[in-house]
Symmetry: C2
């Protein structure tokens, strides 16, 4: 779908959270990334070689990935200049921003005349329908969060790998631009027409009867005033057997909303379970995933212990401590694969 290897774009970014798409590819598709492109005013790095457009093309990069996010996803003039330079150097350009490369005639013309691709990852499928909430077969896990950008994608990928490592079938179902770039497919749920949110997720993770799991990447947060609608449609469409709550204990305020304090774990879990029951009456919570990157190991362990105490659920940092505490609950190691009873 998107030709690799990739050159990862940081541009003029100064917010580490804003480059999470580029960072996700650097982490989960590391062997497909030849370098990073950043301007002199960008203090961030992914630890990859800093390359110009021409150098990246010479190193074999096929696609510049605009792996940055702005609130609202503006296609700023500086970004258009850099995309044009990438095309000039012979690379295709992929973007996860809301505003489309295809809506910039200059880029469309350049790509066409050079035989290169413009890929707008946020373009939703054309054949979506409204969700129905009809009970469907299969084991589905949805990651939910106290906020945006608290590690739902990372947790989903780690849980998918963990389930597979225990012999279970498991598929990561991507719902955001980074996840879609990593997985190679998915539905950009925040870009779907509002009427089709739950229907898009029903299509993304349809009924399955092979005993395997669909691990669905959550988006937004039910207690985030900007995005709760997306999160609720996703929750209803996912019809999850289990939810895993993701949280960043270093976050003081909700993302993009200065002054709005973070909701607590127990309140967030309770609300997700309450609203999920509309389409999944037996839904249960299977654990908590913390992003403890900002803390030393002792503090990270203490945070997990406190989360376990508060919620009564296994808590871990999937990056630091793995996902075993949650997998023990979802897929006990002693059971033969595929025979775990539904709770």
């Amino acid at each position: 779908m998107i030709a690799s290897p990739f050159l990862l774009y940081l541009g003029h970014s100064t917010d580490p959270v804003g480059i999470k798409t580029s960072r996700g590819l650097a982490t989960f598709r590391s062997t497909d990334c030849v370098g990073e492109f950043r301007h002199d005013d960008c203090p961030l790095t992914l630890g990859l070689p800093r390359l110009t457009m021409a150098e990246a093309a010479a190193h074999g990069a096929k696609t510049l990935v605009l792996g940055i996010a702005h609130p609202g996803g503006d296609m700023a003039p500086a970004l258009i200049e850099d995309a044009a330079a990438a095309l000039e150097a012979g690379m295709s350009v992929a973007s996860g921003l809301h505003h489309r490369l295809h809506d910039v005639p200059r880029l469309v013309d350049m790509a066409r005349s050079r035989g290169l691709d413009l890929i707008d990852v946020r373009d939703p499928p054309a054949d979506l329908t409204v969700g129905k909430g009809t009970p469907r077969a299969g084991r589905r896990l949805l990651t939910v969060g106290t906020d945006c950008s608290v590690g739902k994608m990372y947790a989903s990928l780690a849980l998918t790998e963990g389930l597979r490592s225990r012999g279970a079938k498991a598929d990561f179902r991507a719902t955001g631009q980074t996840g879609i770039l990593i997985a190679g497919s998915g539905v950009p749920v925040d870009a779907v027409v509002a009427d089709f949110i739950s229907g898009a997720i029903e299509a993304l993770a349809p009924a399955r009867s092979d005993g395997g799991w669909d691990v669905i990447e959550g988006q937004g947060a039910l207690l985030h005033p900007s995005f709760a609608g997306v999160s609720l449609g996703l929750l209803h469409g996912a019809q999850p057997e289990a939810i895993v709550l993701c949280h960043d204990p270093a976050r003081k305020e909700m993302r993009g909303l200065p002054g709005r304090p973070m909701p607590d774990l127990v309140e967030t879990l309770a609300l997700n379970l309450q609203l999920a029951r509309l389409t999944s009456p037996q839904v249960y919570a299977a654990g908590v995933c913390l992003n403890t990157a900002a803390f030393d190991e002792a503090a990270a362990r203490a945070l997990c212990a406190r989360a376990e105490q508060e919620t009564g659920l296994p808590a871990t940092d999937p990056h630091r401590f793995g996902t075993d505490p949650i997998l023990d609950l979802l897929c006990p190691a002693s059971s033969p694969p595929g025979t775990t009873a539904s709770r």
Copy 2:
């Protein structure tokens, strides 16, 4: 925005529910409607003169309004023929269907060459942004529902007129195609990109400090698995001071979901208030509007009385009994306009 007078389109419709947009205009913009256009196989009427395209144009009609709905909103060939005939006769064409007039090159060319307009009411504004949930000034009322199509638009229009009749300033804020055609402006919230649901409503009803009301038309239902995401984003974006619950007591199952029973009034109210508090901590319920069209007057009065007993709120059928019981709570007749204290 849309030039009047109107010719209302019924076409080949046979389903009374399918012509609700044309019917809404006939009801709420009656003096702007010169007639109806229907084919011989259409058994329905709005009680307006049946006119050909040429007759309508001769009577001064400026716009043919395609006020019909198909599931999915297809632009059928017969519809395109009729739209072309209207342009031929010198009228502009407005449509509330999902499929766009602007996607039919023949119609685009005809309109351009004749200096006429094609208006796709479901095209959302291009400049939407994500909502913030920041407290904003103004008195806002949102109609919410136990289901889709239970009278939220009708109740919103009736409450707007009622507030004005008591000397208050009040503006109807449309969120669906019929409401937008009636009001002449609005945001088609179900066609907005999912990330922008709450932001679209913040833009539709921005801060106001003249003491007047924005009466915002609700969509969908929080307990409807197909559309709850839209309803939640709308609720958060509306940041309502007050909600009014709309319900159709004749409805046995949720619309489009055979076998799913209707939620009850108390549960629906409680959930709307609970979730609305995220952006409007002092939100209150101001009443219940029932659509009692299927019942005789005694039964209708009994249904209102039962709803009052169940919810502890004033309940009325706005079409049959007016909105006074709710207005008494929102805008006591004894207060000078604009001085009613916020509860």
